[in-house]
């Protein structure tokens, strides 16, 4: 691993709460993100892993500016961006782009592909028609889109092709940071590898930072350089890939790994049958959020909320009890 890491995005103490109206006048608070501190480096992929409701998608959208954080700071290339909406961020915004989970839903069904690809250029670049056309053809070549199909509509493409178009749209402005939210989850298995390879290729070529949000642990193993495991809005473990996979420390991480089916393991066994449900992000428990389901639980776990502490160099764990 290269010792030189160039910081591109710094997230510090970010919190995000949503107001949920409940009943006529009452309001409840949904704590989607609690105290998130992360750094993204140029040319490196950080995988954000967690199950549904852990807040990983919310974090991605907060970074992008679709939600303002309730607390904390987000600095992109040194500039504070958390208080600005995407349209207020001006030129900086084109340097970070997002790829969504559902490729069909992320493309306007009434627009031709060429129009969709041209849009970012219209918004951010000052180009003549010929230059735009050139840009489009060049990105089509890089992402494997047939230029003859530029006049078609999204529904005329397969899921994999639609995701290529979404990737092309994200790449056409040559961003420095890509946020990918479950980019292959809704694709057929034999296509997933195609798209993953494409993304990694592009990342390498343009030395981009990538935040890869996913619930699929096996994919994490393949694409990531660093991994952050999220649970109920918090990071519970953070390390580089090899460390995390060889030596997962947090009990939740271990539970996750033990539950992932592969062709060769045997996860269907009695020992995994924990009956306790995940707490609600509206009524977060006192102390450690994972305590109720944790095999290592002791008395102190329900009293004090654990901090994300250094377990080893570069390896952070939110569990004072783990050996």
């Amino acid at each position: 691993m290269s010792p030189y890491l160039d910081k591109l995005l710094e997230i510090n103490g970010v919190e995000k709460n949503f107001d949920i109206p409940s009943g006529f006048f009452a309001k409840q608070i949904l704590h989607a993100l609690n105290d998130i501190t992360l750094t993204l480096y140029r040319g490196k992929t950080l995988a954000l892993v967690g199950e549904s409701g852990c807040g990983k998608t919310t974090l991605g959208k907060t970074i992008l500016g679709l939600y303002p954080p309730s607390k904390g700071s987000i600095r992109f290339k040194g500039e504070e961006i958390s208080r600005h909406t995407p349209s207020q961020r001006g030129a900086l915004q084109q340097k970070m782009q997002m790829i969504f989970q559902d490729p069909y839903a992320s493309l306007n069904p009434r627009k031709r592909i060429e129009t969709i690809l041209e849009q970012p250029l219209h918004l951010h670049a000052n180009m003549s028609k010929q230059m735009r056309r050139k840009s489009i053809l060049s990105i089509c070549e890089e992402t494997g889109i047939d230029p003859a199909s530029l006049q078609r509509y999204p529904h005329q493409f397969s899921g994999g092709q639609q995701q290529r178009i979404a990737i092309a749209r994200a790449m056409i402005l040559h961003p420095e940071l890509i946020l990918a939210d479950e980019p292959i989850a809704s694709l057929d298995v034999s296509i997933q590898a195609q798209i993953l390879n494409l993304m990694m290729q592009l990342q390498k070529k343009y030395h981009m930072a990538m935040l890869f949000i996913t619930h699929d642990i096996a994919v994490v193993r393949y694409v990531s350089d660093f991994v952050a495991v999220m649970y109920l809005g918090e990071i519970v473990e953070y390390a580089d890939k090899e460390t995390l996979f060889n030596h997962p420390v947090h009990p939740y991480t271990q539970m996750l790994f033990a539950s992932v089916p592969t062709l060769h393991n045997h996860i269907v066994k009695e020992s995994l049958q924990k009956q306790n449900e995940i707490p609600s992000p509206i009524n977060l428990p006192q102390g450690c959020f994972f305590a109720d389901r944790c095999p290592l639980k002791v008395a102190t776990c329900t009293q004090a909320h654990p901090e994300l502490a250094t377990y080893n160099k570069g390896h952070l764990v939110r569990c004072p009890v783990a050996p």
Partner: protein, 283 residues
């Protein structure tokens, strides 16, 4: 152009759509060229003679005459003009208003949305006929007044449909992608959302044209629509209503049949449009 051709040929693959289309075309042509196709201008009082009143269908007056001596056939063709004019004009206006209100309401939410919804709800709690009736009774007769009245009554349906589509589409990733790109609100509203809202609106419009035509016919039937000297299909039906059971059946029945066929034609086209526009994402 090639897309339009493909669309049209697919549209008319359905026999019912073909039937509706031909019928509607027939009526439109008849209405447009009415002066050329009729022996008499029923709105010109100098061409009508009272002594011709209530003549049964025959050689000189194909479909008979009404109580003023008007040739029913001519009156139907001229009446069609009114029906189509009122139907299309009021639909266009209410569509535009409804589109605007629905887009703003659905996209921005908040107090604007609440206000528009309240307005719509209040209006919808009254029967459309009643509102139109009150407007016309207070305002007086006249073709353009009818158009305004029907527009006032109808915009709500478009607004509601548009709003619900916007609420759905607003959450979709392509809108988020547009926002993430830094697109501003008006650009998103008219550039991204509008094209997706149009298709259900067009389908609704084809249904509502029929309703607008019926509304006008009803108002005229009740005597608050078009002036008596320029009868629409509704007025004709109304005029003949009194003599319907005393033997002079042709005065009501023929305009009635034509009105019915017009509505059927529009409905068939609207049905087919609905079929063709959903569920594919394309056209």
């Amino acid at each position: 152009m090639k897309h339009l051709y493909a669309f049209t040929s697919r549209f008319f693959k359905s026999k019912r759509a073909l039937f509706g289309g031909v019928l509607f075309l027939l009526f439109t042509v008849a209405a447009l060229f009415a002066p050329l196709l009729t022996p008499q201008n029923p709105y010109d009082l100098t061409q009508i003679y009272l002594q011709n009143s209530f003549l049964p269908p025959g050689s000189s007056f194909w479909l008979g005459t009404d109580e003023m001596g008007r040739d029913i056939y001519s009156a139907i063709l001229y009446g069609l003009r009114t029906s189509l004019y009122v139907g299309i004009a009021s639909t266009l206006f209410s569509m535009l208003i409804g589109l605007g209100m629905g887009l703003v309401s659905g996209y921005f939410g908040g107090w604007i949305d609440r206000m528009i919804i309240r307005l719509a709800d209040i209006q919808l709690s009254f029967p459309a006929i009643l509102i139109a009736l009150i407007i016309m009774a207070l305002w007086g007769q006249g073709i353009n007044k009818i158009i305004v009245a029907i527009t006032i009554v109808s915009w709500v349906y478009y607004a509601r449909t548009v709003r619900s589509v916007v609420l759905q589409e607003k959450e979709k990733e392509y809108i988020e992608a547009a926002r993430a790109l830094g697109m501003r609100h008006h650009h998103i509203l008219f550039g991204e959302l509008l094209p997706n809202v149009l298709s259900p609106v067009i389908v609704l419009a084809t249904v509502r044209i029929a309703y607008a035509i019926i509304l006008e016919a009803t108002l005229s039937f009740l005597g608050v629509g078009v002036p008596m000297t320029k009868p629409s299909l509704g007025t004709l039906i109304s005029n003949g209503y009194e003599v319907l059971f005393s033997g002079d059946w042709w005065v009501s029945i023929f305009p009635g049949i034509v009105l019915m066929l017009l509505i059927i034609a529009i409905n068939l086209l609207g049905d087919r449009l609905r079929e063709v526009l959903n569920p594919s994402g394309g056209f």
